[in-house]
Every structure is written in C-alpha cells, then in structure tokens.
Symmetry: C2
Subunit: 204 residues, 2 copies
DNA sequence: TGTACATCAGTGAACGCGCGTTCACTGATGTAC
DNA sequence: TGTACATCAGTGAACGCGCGTTCACTGATGTAC
C-alpha cells in the first residue's frame, strides 16, 4: 500500500474498516468511532473524508452496488452463450455476491438507506437492477408474446427469491440451520420457476 | 381495558408500545426507554416484567410467531378444500401477516434474535415453519414420487420467495418504488412455480 | 365492616458507557521561489 | 539545492445525549384476622 499524505488513503481504509464491522455486526452495529479505531485514527479524522456516519455507510453501499452491477453484468455477458444460460448465471452471481461481499450486501439491502437521500446511490443501484431486468427480458423473448409476463415482474420474482434465500438460508441464522445449501436452493427454485414459464422442458 | 394492580397490565402494554416502535423504526431503533415512556412508566419499571431489553424484544417475537402460526394454520385449514387451494392460501396468509403485523414481522425476521438463546422462542418458531412444510407436503403428494422434490425444499422456496417479496417490495423502501403490488407479485410467482412443478396446467 | 400488616409494582435518582459531532490546534507534506 | 511559506489531514479534548441497568424507596393494593 502506498503511503501518501499522512495516512495514505484514509478514505478507503475507513470504508474497509466499516465493511468488516458491518459484516460482523450488521449495518446498525456499525459505528463511526469503531471504524476510526480500526483504521488507527481519531473519530474526528473521519470528518475530513465524510460528512458523517451516514455518509460513510452510504459510500460502502455505493461501492457495493458498483461491484454488484459489474458482477451481474459479467455473469449476464450480453446474453451469451444463450439467454437461458446467461439468466441462470446472473442468479448464481447474485448469491455469489452476497456470500463474497457480506458487508456490502448488508449495507445495500439491510441498512434501510434512503436511496433518494444519497444522490450518488440511486443511479448505481438502478444500474444493478437493470442488469437483471435485461436478462429477464432477453429470456422472455423466447416465449410467445401472449404468455409472456412483463420482464419487470419476471425479474422481481427472481430478485425476491434470491434475496429471500440469502436472508433466510445463507446468513448463519443463529439457532436455526438450513437443510439445504443456499446455492442449491436457488438453483432448483429458479429451475422450477423457468419450467413454469415454459422456458425449460417440463420433465426433470 | 381492565385496570388491575397499579397499571393494570403493564407487561402487555410494554409489548404493544414496543410493537409500535419496532414497526416505525425497525427492531434496532427500538429502545427500552422509549417503550417505557410510551407506556407512561419509568424505564426501571420494565424490569418488573422482563429481564431486560432483549427479553422484551423476544417476547414481541414470540407473540408474533404465535399469531403467525395460528394464521397459517387457519389458512391451511387441514388442506381443505384442496391441497392446492390450501397451499395458495398459506402463501397469501404469509403476506397478509407481514402487512398487518409489521412490528411482529420485523421482530421475528429482522431483529437477528438468537432463537436458541430464548428457549420460549424456538418451539413456536418451529411450529410456524411446520405449517408451511405440511402444506407443501400435502401438495407434493399430487406429484409422481420420482419427480417430487423434498417437501422441505419446496416449502423453503416458497418461504424465500415470500420473504423476499416482503423485504424488497412491501416495505416502503425509501427512494424506490415497486411497479407491482406485493400480493400480485407473490401470487403470480407462486403460480409460475407450481406450474413448473406440474401442479397447475401449463397454460395460463 | 374495620384494622393491621405484607406484598410488590412502579418511582426517582444515579451510574458508567459509547455514541456522533465540534473545535482550535499542530505538524507533516507539497510548492514557490 | 535550500528556504520560507501555505495547505490541510489528523489530533486531542470536550460536549451533550440517550442508552441499559441498579438500587433503595414508597405507597397502592390485597389479605388475614
């Protein structure tokens, strides 16, 4: 790490400290003072880089959406090799993101951030949502127009299923254990759903 | 309300004050002191009825699971008039519960309570889960045994979808609005899923 | 019915704590000459 | 290359706040006689 002015890159160091705290204690357990401490810095120093606690939290979420959108985009891969394969890849990418970037995920979806209160946040969040919707739209082109559900509804179903799987079965829900791996749960769930749409052959 | 000893029924009054606070500010925004204040009582009075903040929160969740299980049981109605109708009714009941009892719902699913740390909580939570699983099991009897997914997986899919719909599309997610009513989203989602299982005719 | 007593729900004051935030400051870094 | 100066990232002390929790208490209620 290059040491530049004083600390070097305190801004990013704070973001990373926040990430670990959020991953460990949830978005509400995260504290400006603790993040400062983890970055070996006085709490007051945080105010050189962020307007306050909320702003730091929002930056964590923003970086999360950035990574998330990129990951989904990569998985979608412009609908190649096939609309179906690309769609299933985005589903897997959703879960992979939640697993690999728990701090980001929690900041994005469990912090209750007001998107419109943070102008930097809304567009990148929308961008992430758009990828999934695009994948759904591509795929639904393979359906006869009269039995085609709106792509936004289609993608909302998958988003909801994925989010539910993460929240209920991936978090080490204390005192409760899932009999299935989240990845399997999502994969089979999406499979059944796509069969229901006529996008997969009816037989298993 | 019958006025009994001193306050009457402070224990339940505190639970109800907590419910409103949780519904308004989320489970982590809930505060023992505020709940006491809302019940017109000193914070110290709470300790006559609960061992502390966590215990009060857990009681809110416990009552929630109680209501939830009863509601699901009622909707399931022992699989009548048909396994399919009963199953769909439980799905609707899930969402209805989340909408009607937001404070309970949040305490149950968003507070991150450690089920095993609160011995009263685990059995009633399990009871609620069992209803949905029973509904799934009934329904899956209508499938040929070789294409029948395990009932627990089946019910996990529906649970995850329902939970995701609540979290993403029912909460007045600030700065973000859903194009679909959560109820519609869940109903269509379950419909497609059941068609995928061969439990509904393939055509719309 | 009346009185003396026991119970115990709720009080009020106090505690230590960590929080987010502010402010005047200092001293390391970057830059102009 | 050396010096004087400007910048500004981070410090350290302080603040007011609300939190959960404790404790000795008080006084309304219930009960025994």
């Amino acid at each position: 790490m290059k040491r530049g002015y004083h600390h070097g890159n305190l801004r990013q160091a704070l973001v990373e400290a926040a990430l670990e705290l959020i991953a460990a204690q949830g978005p509400t357990g995260f504290t400006l003072s603790e993040a400062a401490k983890a970055a070996d810095v006085t709490p007051a120093a945080v105010y050189r880089h962020f307007t306050g606690r909320d702003d730091l939290l929002a930056e964590v979420a923003r970086q999360g959406y950035e990574i998330f959108a990129a990951l989904m985009e990569f998985a979608f891969n412009n609908g190649k090799p096939s609309a179906l394969a690309a769609f299933e890849a985005t589903g897997r990418a959703y879960l992979a993101f939640a697993r690999k970037y728990p701090g980001h995920y929690m900041a994005m979806f469990e912090a209750g951030l007001n998107l419109s209160a943070h102008p930097d946040l809304a567009p990148v969040a929308q961008k992430a949502r758009d990828v999934l919707e695009r994948a759904a739209d591509h795929l639904s082109q393979h359906l006869p127009a009269d039995k085609r559900p709106p792509a936004r509804m289609f993608s909302a179903h998958i988003w909801a299923l994925s989010h539910g799987v993460v929240e209920l079965f991936m978090r080490g829900a204390p005192g409760q254990k899932s009999p299935f791996a989240p990845e399997d749960l999502l994969e089979t769930g999406i499979g059944i759903y796509l069969r229901g749409l006529g996008l997969l052959p009816p037989d298993r």
